[in-house]
């Protein structure tokens, strides 16, 4: 590197002027937003693709099976040779059993975990526990399914001998375990965003930690906690592998949780792993079931968004 060339004959500005390629650059500037918009539109196209796929194939299904039978029928026997029945209520009931049990497990444990992490735990404890909860949230559902079938069910059977191998209880509990981290971390976010001034006000009046947690923080964070629960319910409704492995394939219109059941998701798996040919009524039925499932989760997601927007606490 020479050091004394400040008297170079040609200045940087002149070099820039020679290399200047404003035409090309401004063409790129005009083109790039369009390309990026096209890429961003892919996510919209995906939604449109999902909705149209479900609608078209469901319409074909409804040319063969009456929508009334589908919506109000209480029997689901698509594989019956002579008189197949396509009433979706048993599948919905199966889904609700799993979801109900999961919520009973996950909501108290999830919220209690959130209270502990946000109000009681030291920074060190939090930094130790939170990554473990992340791991728990990252366990693939097929692994949970394996765990439900080969561990939780036998353990439960030793307590309740009348429990069948395939039942609603065991996968319900395991789906609950699966959604605990979701409820815990979203609820904790809601609680930690409650300003400290509110806590300090209560402590200064002589409140115990428990009173601050239950009477100050929890009410202030309600909308976040409810929204997290609704989102978790949506996850439980759409959960597929745990129920496919451990809940069985016997749709029934009853509230028994000890015997084999079938959920909407598990039915789709049953058909696609079997050999129902393309174009059969059974083939189209998975889209009708998928569409119903999609509507359930969509309503839940919109509800969660509505709750967290509508009741967002302004501090």
């Amino acid at each position: 590197m020479s050091t004394k060339d400040s008297n170079k004959s040609i200045s940087v500005q002149e070099m820039i002027a020679q290399k200047s390629n404003r035409g090309l650059l401004s063409r790129i500037e005009k083109l790039v937003p369009k390309i990026l918009f096209a890429i961003a539109a892919m996510s919209v196209l995906t939604t449109i693709g999902i909705v149209l796929t479900l609608i078209f194939e469901t319409i074909i299904f409804f040319t063969r099976v009456s929508p009334l039978e589908f919506i109000f029928g209480t029997e689901w026997y698509p594989f019956a040779n002579t008189t197949p029945a396509y009433g979706i209520l048993p599948l919905i009931v199966g889904t609700l059993k799993i979801t109900g049990i999961a919520v009973l497990v996950a909501v108290p444990i999830g919220i209690a975990t959130a209270i502990f992490l946000s109000e009681y735990a030291s920074e060190r404890t939090r930094r130790f526990i939170k990554p473990i909860l992340e791991v728990l949230a990252g366990v693939p559902t097929i692994v949970y399914g394996f765990f439900a079938l080969t561990f939780v069910t036998p353990v439960l059977q030793s307590i309740f001998p009348q429990l069948s191998i395939f039942n609603a209880l065991s996968p319900g509990i395991v789906v609950g375990i699966m959604i605990i981290p979701m409820i815990a971390s979203l609820s904790e976010d809601a609680m930690t965003s409650v300003p400290n001034a509110m806590r300090e006000g209560a402590y200064a009046l002589g409140s115990t930690r428990l009173e601050v947690a239950l009477k100050v923080v929890l009410p202030a964070a309600t909308s976040g906690i409810v929204a997290s629960t609704v989102l978790a319910i949506s996850r439980a409704i759409g959960e597929t592998m745990i129920v496919s492995v451990a809940a069985g394939s016997t749709p029934g219109f009853n509230w028994d949780i000890t015997g084999s059941i079938q959920t909407m998701t598990a039915y789709i798996v049953q058909v696609t792993t079997g050999d129902a040919g393309y174009g059969t009524t059974i083939y189209y039925s998975i889209y009708a079931v998928g569409f119903t499932l999609f509507l359930f989760t969509l309503v839940m997601n919109l509800l969660a968004q509505y709750i967290s927007k509508r009741f967002r606490e302004e501090y």
Binding site: E29, S43, F116, A121, T150, S234, M241, T272
Partner: protein, 292 residues
């Protein structure tokens, strides 16, 4: 007249503090529940499947006999699948994030795109499977191939990558963009040379975590119709294939208990892959944290 008798308050304080202690114990127990379940799950799987982990397990194809069953085709299939999912999902995800953060104006269309992304994140994976089966396998005629499954998985994890990339791009300070504009750089030059390099660690961390979700995802593969017993490894992207979670699903469903042990062995391999991917993500996150 006094409304508050401090003697009464003091005498009640003791029971209030006891109650506080009791509930603290309860909350702690709830927190430990998740940890204990995870521990039990891991111990159970390792004791059950550990015995099957050996060289043959990695070199063998699937088999009717549990002791000869291996995961060669599933492991290689999963890796192939990631080779499609990683570039496709990151291209779409980062592109969308750049658009939303740097170009999108506050209008109806763009608000719709944002709402749509958060709703897409809530669509069950099995429904994505139906999309993949109809659009990619049948309409695009890709067949039951790595490409069809890869596209499906890419769309499935797209919302996660978009949100993570948006956060990473948003974290790049405005001052850096201003410095670049003030030198006469165009917007795209600023994005490519300043914003993206600064956002890369965040984008990578989010993307790896999203990919680790894709590698364990089973339901879309089932719906697309990926086979479970495959005696060869794929040669190109339009070949059919099987993947780790599919193989585990198949072994779990078998009535013979011995196959459950093989499934546990498969789970050990899958979880090891996940832990490696997560460690890489955490490493990148810690290494490049708080740079501004």
């Amino acid at each position: 007249m006094k409304y508050m008798d401090h003697n009464v308050v003091s005498s009640k304080m003791k029971s209030r503090l006891t109650k506080n202690k009791f509930f603290k114990g309860l909350f702690f127990a709830a927190t430990m529940f998740g940890l204990i379940v995870l521990a039990v799950l891991l111990i159970r799987i390792i004791t059950q499947g550990g015995g099957y982990i050996n060289w043959d397990f990695f070199m063998n194809f699937a088999s009717r006999f549990p002791e000869q069953a291996g995961i060669k085709s599933a492991l290689i299939g999963s890796i192939y699948l990631m080779l499609v999912v990683a570039p496709v999902s990151m291209f779409l995800g980062v592109g969308t994030a750049i658009y939303l953060e740097e170009y999108a104006k506050q209008n109806k269309m763009n608000r719709f795109i944002k709402v749509n992304i958060s709703n897409l994140a809530g669509v069950p994976s099995v429904v994505f499977g139906l999309l993949g089966l109809t659009i990619f396998v049948r309409n695009f005629d890709l067949g039951i191939s790595i490409l069809a499954a890869g596209f499906t998985m890419s769309l499935l994890i797209l919302p996660v990558i978009i949100v993570a990339s948006q956060e990473a791009i948003r974290a790049v300070p405005r001052e850096l963009r201003e410095a670049s504009f003030a030198m006469g750089a165009t917007k795209w030059q600023t994005i490519v040379r300043v914003v993206l390099p600064a956002a890369v660690p965040g984008v990578l961390t989010g993307s790896i975590l999203a990919l680790s979700r894709a590698i364990g995802e089973t339901a879309p593969l089932v719906v697309i119709g990926i086979p479970t017993i495959l005696m060869f490894t794929p040669n190109h992207l339009l070949d059919t294939f099987t993947a780790l979670p599919m193989q585990i699903f198949d072994w779990t469903k078998r009535p013979q208990v011995a196959f459950h042990d093989v499934a546990a062995a498969g789970i050990i391999v899958l979880m090891t892959l996940l832990i490696i991917m997560n460690s890489i993500a955490v490493f990148i996150r810690n290494k490049y944290q708080k740079r501004y």
